[in-house]
Structure formats: C-alpha cells, structure tokens
Symmetry: C2
DNA sequence: TTTACAATCCCCAAAAGTGGTGAGTCGCCG
DNA sequence: CGGCGACTCACCACTTTTGGGGATTGTAAA
C-alpha cells in the first residue's frame, strides 16, 4: 500500500518539482496538489492523504491556521511544514498547532524523501534550530509546572485521594460517598492535610494544590 | 579554540571508545571522563567542558538527576544524553531536566560526531521517536494552556478583584476588608460570579478559575 | 513487645459559606 | 427622561466547614 501524499503550496513550480521528486519513490503516491488552503478540509476529504506537505506562507488562510483546522478534522493525518526562510517563530507556532515535522525548502531535494519516511515511521523531522527551540520551550514549560520543585508534604496515599476529591470541587459529604468512608473520616484526613500543607481553608488548599501540582 | 567535552559513563570500555572516537576530530578535546556522577558538579568545575555526554543509566545518582543538578549550577553547559535502550520515558524526562540532545548508543559510531556538532551549532539532535514524543507533549501542553480558549465569562472588573482575593485564599471577611466594602457586598459579588461561572462552591470556583487561567 | 502511625470513626460548639429576596446609588446610553 | 447594569448593602434560614477534643483497629518498624 503506497503512502498517500498531498501538497499545499502557492508556488506552482515548487509544487510540480516536489511532485516529480516524490514520484521517483515507488512507495509514494501524490494524491493531491493545491495552490491554497482555503478549501483544505474539503481537499483532504477528497484525496485522503496520509501525509500533508504544507507551505507556511500562503495567500488567504495561512499554513499554520490550516494545520490547526486540519488537525481538528483529521487528527491522524501527519503534517510536515515547509518554508523558504528559517522563520523560527512561525514554524514553531505551526508545530504547536499540530504539525509533526518541518523542513527548509533549501533541503527539499536532499532531505524531503528521508524526512517523509522519518515522519511515516514515527519520527518528527525538523531543522536543528527548531529542535533546540522546542526543547527549550519544553523545559521552560515543565519548569513552570513545578515551581518549588521538591515540595514534598508527605501526604499518605489516602490523603492524596481525599485531596484530589476536594480539589475537584466535592464537598466532604460527597468525598465520603465517593471513597466509601464516613464524613468524619474525611474530616480527619482533611485536618491532617491542613496541617501538612500549612493551610486553614479549602480555598487555600485548592489554590496551593493546583499551584504546586500536588495530586 | 577546541570544543571541550566531558564524558560520564559507568562502562569503562564505552568511555574509552568514545574518547578514542572523539579524538579523531581535531576540534574536539576530551577534558574529562568519569565513571559516575556522584561528584559531577566538582568534576565539571574542574574540567570546564562545553559539552557533556551523559549516560542515562548509572549507579548511585542517575544520569537524569545529574542533568538537573548540573544545569542548575552550569546552565551554559550543553548536555547530550546517551542510552543503550530506546527508553523513551526516561530519556524524555532527562530532556525536560535540561538535556539538549539525545543519542542511542548503537548510533554512537556513526552519529556521535555529527550530533555533537549539531549541538554545538544550536541544534538538538535526538532520535526520531523521541522527537515525536517531544512534539506531541509540546502540543498537548500548549493545548492545556488555553483550554476552551474563548472562555469569556463577562466578569466585571470588581468581580475579578473579588475573585482574585478568594482564589488567593482570603475569606469573605478578609476580602471585604481588603477591598473596603462590606461583607454582604462581597457575598453579592460572589453570588454573581457563581452564576457566571456555573459553580456552586468556593472549591469549584478556585479550581475552575485556576484551571482556566481566569484572573 | 512497645511504639508509631495510617486509617477509620464520633461529638460539640463556633465560624464560615450558601440561597433567596430586596433595595439604594451612580453613570451611561438611547 | 427611563431603563440598564455595576456596585453597594441588608436580613433570614440553612448547610458546610473548622477547631477542639477523643477512640479504635491493624500494620510495621524499633
């Protein structure tokens, strides 16, 4: 079964040359080639590609919006972005929008085939600088996820369960019901948790728990 | 000026063969080679590498903890992880801890030199499957950053003030005091907010507010 | 075996929050 | 001007939470 590929690019020459290039590979089949993304959902619906090559600069709807739209409708389609410039920020955005790979047009001739195969087999081909950017963003985000880091309050498993419940908005009674224990037991746990987290009310508790990503 | 490289790996053979391999490149200089990471901070302080090759499985302190520690002390040092198995999760964690690249030991011979150079010139060499994992995590995280996106609950400025207070753990009385209004007024605002956010208790309110990044 | 602690349950009195209803002032817009 | 909405305040009845006390069981470490 061949790998079905669709191309979106406003430049006819590039579209054609990509098509020619891809046709040199037996297992590739170019099933669509479009100069804009205004009808991209309908286009994809019609040609059913496995992989989409998406130019990032296009008239009308931009490639990155198209990615977002397409990914919402067809999450299983893999999208590889391509751009002339090493336009880090926009490519980065499009990656966040749902693209799985990225390649510079300069490298189309030498790297396109390999990149598509990498994409097909579970990889995410991207240029070095983008990779670094993604890594740093990654680290930055996970960093802000745990502010104090090693804030270990030594909650017991049961206490964590109770905490999870109240944080999700359950009242003591509902927690008791959910965990099949009595109302008074819930209270006992809560009291302990209050001591351990140094709070004195549910609002503080929820706030601290969510801010510090406990439970 | 040569590129200074340090190696951490508990396997002497691997450490030696990596050293030999790297010495074939004129611009590389192996400035340190250590069988464990227990003194990694001191080691780095002593040999001052530009790039660290870090084995992920090691006795005592694990490679990933070492990454976290080192990055705290020497954020400018680039760290490349290496592992025998394609141990996605742990490698992924170490990347989050601050590693800038990752390579499978199988590929050491063929890809190590290139990967180090890629690292040196601003890239983030990593195996395809890890790249994909990172991408997906990236998308998932940025997704949860804006949950519904356009969740506009039309809170008035005053209501937002009140909300900010209660979310920070203040009781009604304290809010009243802080905003120089009466207790009953605070209650009025809270009631309105409850309606607008479709919640029925403070815990739900705090939870929803924090989850959806209101205030 | 004693000690320690998680987990379960109970009671009382005080404090805080919830729901409903009503109502006054102010400023803005048609 | 009249209506609307933001902001302010009040009262009543009710529920929920909080801060003290205490008790029992079982398990696991000292």
């Amino acid at each position: 079964m061949p790998l079905r590929i669709a191309i979106f690019d406003d430049n006819n020459n590039i579209r054609d040359s990509i098509g020619l290039l891809l046709r040199t590979e037996k297992e590739f089949e170019v099933v669509g080639s479009f100069p804009h993304v205004l009808d991209c959902v309908a286009d994809i619906k019609a040609c059913r590609p496995d992989i989409v090559l998406m130019d990032i600069e296009m008239p009308g709807m931009t490639g990155i919006e198209a990615v977002r739209t397409l990914k919402k409708e067809y999450p299983e389609v893999l999208i590889m972005m391509q751009t002339v410039f090493e336009d880090d920020d926009r490519v980065f955005d499009s990656i966040c929008a749902g693209a799985s790979g990225y390649i510079l047009k300069n490298f189309l001739n030498t790297r396109l085939i390999d990149s598509i195969k990498e994409l097909q087999f579970g990889g995410s081909p991207m240029s070095p600088s983008i990779a670094r950017k993604v890594m740093m963003k990654m680290q930055q985000v996970t960093e802000q996820m745990r502010p104090a880091g090693n804030t270990n309050y030594q909650l017991t498993p049961r206490e964590k369960e109770v905490l999870a419940c109240v944080v999700n908005g359950l009242s003591y009674k509902m927690v008791a019901d959910a965990l099949h224990i009595s109302y008074e037991t819930v209270r006992s746990h809560i009291k302990k948790i209050y001591e351990k987290l140094h709070v004195a009310s549910l609002t503080e508790l929820v706030h601290k728990t969510m801010k510090e990503r406990i439970v």
